[in-house]
Structures are given as structure tokens and as C-alpha cells.
């Protein structure tokens, strides 16, 4: 019985699916790609970014993404970014955001989620877990 309960719990709490729309590429220069599943697509202006996407930039390249809650993410050269989670309830404006910077640089201007659900907004580097309180900041990592 408890196994069924556990499965139900996992289904309910696991309502973050790879492929959910998270945002849109607004700026791109040089080489920028989105790795999705086994494939890859160019991270050009107007391309949609989804949950579980890996966004990569090459040398002398950069990319700017606006998430659906208004969070601004911009990655500098030789950077790797993963959208681990993005949930945004368009009525209550609550949800979750979890982004990893695996390599390179990332500038962030937080959006509505950081206002309504500050504890559910997390940025990660290989060494650090970063919580935001309505904020603009830059992150940099040498990689794992």
C-alpha cells in the first residue's frame, strides 16, 4: 500500500517535466547551442528554452534568455548552463526555478519567482548553492 502512496507522491511532486516551456532566447552572438535530449539545436533569437535544456556558448560567444517569469539569464563565452527546473503558475505567480552553471559566466536579474517564492529559486555552481532575495548578480565557475 505504501508503495502505491509513494508512487502517487512522486507523480504529484514530480510535476516538473523535461520539455516544459521555460523561456525564449532574446540575444545571441557567435556560437550558441541548446542540447535537448540526444539532439542539439541552434540557440538563435526566438528559440524556446525548455526544462532540462543545456545551453552552451563557444569562445567569444554569448546568449541572453528571458524566462517566462521575467528572470533574465545571460551567459558569457565558453559557458554551460542547465535549466534543471522551471515551474511558474501564471495565476498565483508562484513556482520553482533551479539553474546550474557548469562552466563559464552567468549574469542574472531575478524575476517574479524570486519575489513570490524566494526559497524556491536556486542557482548552483559546482561548489555553491545560491539563494536569491530579489537580486542582480554574476556567477562564475572554472567548471567541475
Amino acid at each position: 500500500m505504501w508503495v502505491i502512496k509513494l508512487v502517487v507522491l512522486l507523480l504529484v511532486s514530480g510535476a516538473v517535466y523535461a520539455g516544459d516551456d521555460a523561456g525564449l532566447i532574446k540575444n545571441a552572438s557567435g556560437m550558441a547551442t541548446i542540447l535537448r535530449g540526444d539532439g542539439q539545436i541552434p540557440a538563435g533569437v526566438g528559440a524556446h528554452v525548455q526544462v532540462s535544456d543545456v545551453v552552451k556558448t563557444g569562445a567569444n560567444s554569448s546568449v541572453g534568455i528571458t524566462l517566462n517569469d521575467g528572470t533574465l539569464l545571460s551567459a558569457g563565452p565558453d559557458s554551460t548552463l542547465v535549466i534543471n527546473k522551471f515551474v511558474f503558475d501564471s495565476t498565483a505567480h508562484t513556482g520553482e526555478l533551479d539553474v546550474s552553471l557548469k562552466k563559464g559566466t552567468l549574469a542574472v536579474v531575478s524575476g517574479k519567482l524570486a519575489k513570490t517564492s524566494p526559497r524556491a529559486v536556486i542557482f548552483r555552481t559546482p561548489t555553491t548553492l545560491l539563494g536569491v532575495r530579489g537580486t542582480e548578480f554574476v556567477l562564475e565557475t572554472a567548471g567541475e
Binding site: N27, G64, S74, T127
Partner: protein, 198 residues
């Protein structure tokens, strides 16, 4: 004198070592609107709050946090390319309907024109039309009412030439008042449709 110069060399070497093992960096930037903000860092070795503009932290592979300070210039030289890729900030336009009918006010007609010009200035523009109510009525009824107002606004924008793919609609009911009131208070300022452009 000899001892003194020896100490400087040791210090320089230590600095070099420290710089060599820095794995990650975080710099808090000033908020564009001047409001206060903070980030909270947690690593295997400790915690640190950055709550002043240009306050920074260097983190070693083991998670050791060293506080430091940056300046507008040092941030620009190190992160200029990253910051220049930042998308344009979202902007909100408030639309008010005359009470009792579905006509928008003259000021709001101007706001819609400004919103359209703003959209043209952005790459891959998107808009979210968000209805808001005052606190008269139940939360559920206000969610429904706010969504209805937002849909009405969307239909006007579609008729005005904005494509359906660019518009999202939502109703936030009484959750996000511009002016805080007690429940069941009639507050015209809160009965609005917000057009968020990003």
C-alpha cells in the same frame, strides 16, 4: 629590511596560491531600481550573505569562501560580454477600464500605444496580459473575473494586429493589488489589466 622584503614575497606567493585555487566567484550587483537585495551562498565549508552592491565572494574547490569587493569597472572588464547579452528588462503597462462598461480610458489608450512601440524595440517580443481585481468578492470569483478582463484585452490587441503566438493571458485575481486594502474594499486602482512586455 631583508626580513621585510622576504615577508612581501611570502605574501605574494600566498596570494598567488589563493588565486590559483579559486573555483567559483559571485558578485552582487546593484539593483537597477535601487532597491536592496542579497544573495545567500552555501558551500560544503560554510555560508555567506552578500547584501551590499559589488560585494563579492571567491570560493575554493573545497567550498572555502573568501569575501572581497569589486567595482563597477572591474565587473565591466571581467563580465562585460556576459552583461551585454542580457535581454531588455520586462516592462509593465497598466490599462484601466471605465467602470460599468468595457471601454478603456484615454490614458490607457496612450499606454497601449507605448506598449506597442516597446514591443517593436525588442527582439523576439512576448507579452503577458494579466487581469487584476480589487478585493470585493471571493478569491475564486476574482480569479475568474480577472481572467475575463485579460481575455477582453487580448481580443483588443489581436484586433490591433498583435499575433496570437506572442500573447499569453492570465488572471491574478486580487493577489497583487497596487494599493493594499482590507477584504471587500472597492478600490478602482486595483481593477486593472497589466500588460507585461518581455
Amino acid at each position: 629590511m631583508k626580513m621585510f622584503s622576504g615577508k612581501i614575497i611570502v605574501n605574494v606567493l600566498m596570494l598567488g596560491l589563493l588565486a590559483g585555487c579559486v573555483q567559483d566567484r559571485v558578485v552582487l550587483l546593484p539593483n537597477a531600481d535601487g532597491s536592496r537585495s542579497a544573495v545567500v551562498l552555501k558551500t560544503a565549508a560554510g555560508e555567506q550573505v552578500l547584501d551590499q552592491p559589488y560585494e563579492a565572494a571567491s570560493i575554493s574547490q573545497a567550498g572555502k569562501i573568501a569575501a572581497s569587493r569589486e567595482t563597477a569597472e572591474s565587473v565591466q572588464s571581467r563580465y562585460g560580454q556576459t552583461l551585454s547579452a542580457q535581454p531588455k528588462r520586462p516592462a509593465s503597462y497598466m490599462i484601466y477600464f471605465s467602470s460599468g462598461n468595457n471601454e478603456i480610458s484615454a490614458e490607457s489608450a496612450v499606454a497601449i500605444e507605448q506598449m506597442k512601440a516597446d514591443m517593436k524595440s525588442r527582439s523576439a517580443p512576448q507579452i503577458t496580459v494579466i487581469g487584476h481585481t480589487d478585493r470585493v468578492g471571493t478569491v475564486e470569483a476574482n480569479d475568474a473575473l480577472s481572467l475575463k478582463r485579460a481575455q477582453l484585452m487580448r481580443d483588443m490587441l489581436l484586433a490591433g494586429g498583435i499575433s496570437e503566438a506572442q500573447i499569453e493571458v492570465s488572471g491574478s485575481g486580487e493577489r497583487e493589488p497596487l494599493v493594499s486594502t482590507d477584504d471587500e474594499v472597492d478600490e478602482p486602482v486595483n481593477r486593472r489589466v497589466e500588460i507585461n512586455v518581455r
